[in-house]
């Protein structure tokens, strides 16, 4: 019962930290640079942080956001988001020097090892894009030379962000929009299917976006028999695994009743598509 035995190195961190920069990227899309060296250092691609403004009770719960980019030298990471609801509108008004309460890094990252695939295929719908830059950058940092492709579906040209950043990393990007204002007028599944029909060598899909899009991509992946990882955005309370509020159905067999409830924040947010019962 001595506390020393348990005093391991802590792997999650929480405190109030300053925003170092706020960018307005496009439309309602913003990016905050946040100073938190442990997270900049430790966050793996696909992981997320829980963000809260203060001790206010409205809203009460923190909100989960993907780690979009890290700058280890300066101990800074970014979150990228669309200001749509109460919380995101509130933080969109915050600027350098103001503080956010951050908890992270959280969740299961994208498995990006060379055992997974020979081509990394990122599939983003809308703000699902947020989680991918860190992934592409991490591969390049590690000297990984496998091709990285990004299929990116957005509402319109005003809601497309970070294209240059991906291109600078040598990622081949294909953008489609709902209204055709940038790239083809199509859903992201169209260019993805086209690509898969070229029979690429051992690709794996990494998908983040709205539910119908993730479901559609999962089905395509199943048909084409390619590995597919989804990054789920469920409603969360604790974000760290204690409340079991973020339940997702995980397959344990083939019967209708063969499933358990897993936690999207611990067993996910990244989950192999075939493990998920829709």
């Amino acid at each position: 019962m001595s506390s020393n035995t348990a005093r391991q190195a802590f792997t999650r961190f929480t405190r109030r930290v300053p925003i170092t920069r706020t960018e307005h990227l496009a439309g309602d899309i913003y990016r905050h640079h946040i100073h938190f060296p442990e997270i900049a250092e430790g966050a793996q691609p696909g992981q997320f942080v829980e963000v809260k403004v203060s001790n206010d009770f409205d809203p009460l719960l923190p909100r989960p956001f993907s780690v979009n980019q890290v700058d280890r030298e300066n101990g800074v990471f970014t979150i990228l988001y669309e200001a749509l609801g109460q919380f995101t509108k509130e933080i969109a008004g915050m600027s350098a020097g103001e503080e956010l309460q951050i908890l992270g890094p959280l969740g299961r990252p994208y498995p990006l090892g060379s055992d997974e695939c020979d081509e990394i295929v990122l599939v983003a719908g809308g703000l699902g894009i947020a989680s991918f830059y860190h992934a592409a950058w991490t591969l390049r940092e590690a000297g990984d030379e496998r091709p990285v492709r990004l299929f990116y579906g957005a509402r319109n040209r005003h809601s497309v962000v970070q294209l240059e950043d991906y291109e600078a990393l040598g990622v081949s990007v294909e953008v489609v929009t709902d209204d055709g204002s940038l790239g083809e007028k199509a859903l992201v599944t169209t260019p993805l299917t086209r690509y898969l029909q070229t029979q690429p060598r051992r690709p794996a899909l990494y998908v983040c976006g709205p539910t119908p899009m993730m479901k559609a991509v999962s089905e395509i992946a199943q048909i084409e028999r390619v590995k597919c990882y989804l990054s789920l955005e469920t409603y969360m309370a604790c974000g760290i695994g204690t409340c079991v509020g973020c339940a997702i159905k995980l397959r344990t067999g083939d019967g209708a009743d063969d499933f358990v409830y897993g936690r999207a924040c611990v067993e996910g947010p990244v989950i192999e598509a075939e493990r998920l019962v829709w």
Binding site: M1, S3, A6, F13, T14, N55, P62, G245, C246, Y261
Partner: protein
């Protein structure tokens, strides 16, 4: 800062509430759990429970609804996999037990009685989120008394029934608990609530209703703790919306011997630690050295109308 719940000594009166702290593993990644007065682990049943279908949680004004449905791996898994981890820390472990019938509660108590790493049992007779069973334990004082005495007979550990606020007179249940041989009572569990999505015209929770927790319920919880502390002579453990050290001090003043921090940990994982520091500073600033010196010390009296 130490307080006593029956024969169990807590190093400080600040514990964490069942279902909001898992089995300690997650928050142990953030801070040393030995700082806590105690840990009430997630509701544990004889057999594993799958829990309710999602969506299970929804945020409301200064609160949240949950309908987890007591998902847990069962008491054997608890003993084999969770308890050893928790016992690394210098804090008191209380198991929140849940069953459908009195015999199940008694059986859980017997099984856990063997475990030296368990300080006490919190009898969860008040979870609003499961369809079958035990609603009567929370709404009929006689049933409460029966389940408490069955558990009492089955274990030498500290026995703490956890009371439901969804009743006309909570003091009747506190009294029934005392009569049944409880060492303490803890209150409140969540209030039953719901929410609807006007777009889809569906309930926000798959389970229709859920338990309301968080700062929004604090005034109700504080009133009930006050009433129960006036009624019984066993210790009262205060729960409900406690988010800051002033909240904790309010509960102590109302008559609580110890408190549990629940939903607040989601908003701020360090809430319990900050509360420990704040309560300690409050006692110091007032020249006191023990939380028990303020327990129940709230006074009625004229409040200045002109501020």
């Amino acid at each position: 800062m130490a307080v006593e719940i029956g024969p169990v000594r807590l190093k400080n009166p600040v514990t964490v509430a069942s279902g909001t702290f898992g089995f300690g593993r997650e928050y142990a990644q953030l801070f040393d759990l030995s700082q806590l007065g105690g840990i009430f682990v997630k509701g544990t049943s004889l057999e594993p429970r799958r829990g309710n279908p999602p969506q299970r949680i929804y945020e409301t004004a200064a609160g949240m609804l949950n309908s987890i449905g007591l998902q847990n791996d069962g008491v054997e898994a608890f003993i084999a996999e969770k308890l050893p981890f928790l016992n690394q820390f210098d804090t008191q472990i209380f198991v929140n037990i849940v069953g459908n019938r009195i015999e199940e509660y008694a059986e859980l108590a017997r099984i856990l009685d063997d475990q030296p790493g368990v300080a006490g049992l919190e009898i969860n007779i008040s979870c609003p989120n499961v369809e079958h069973g035990h609603a009567e334990f929370a709404s009929d004082p006689t049933a409460t008394c029966n389940v408490v005495s069955a558990v009492r007979r089955a274990t030498g550990k500290v026995v703490i029934p956890k009371l439901s606020p969804n009743v006309t007179d909570i003091t009747a249940f506190a009294r029934a608990s005392e009569d049944g041989g409880a060492d303490a009572v803890s209150l409140i569990n969540t209030l039953v609530g719901t929410a609807i999505d006007v777009k889809t015209r569906r309930f926000r929770l798959a389970n229709v209703t859920g338990g309301l927790s968080g700062p929004c319920i604090k005034p109700i919880a504080l009133r009930m703790v006050y009433q129960c502390a006036q009624t019984v002579s066993i210790p009262v453990i205060g729960i409900g919306g406690i988010s800051t050290w002033t909240d904790a001090v309010e509960f102590l003043l109302a008559g609580a011997t110890a408190i549990q921090v629940g939903t607040a940990s989601f908003a701020n994982p360090l809430a319990a630690l900050e509360i420990i520091d704040g309560v300690e500073a409050y006692l110091q600033d007032n020249g006191l050295n023990s939380p028990s010196q303020i327990t129940g010390k709230v006074e009625r009296g004229p409040v200045d109308p002109v501020l």
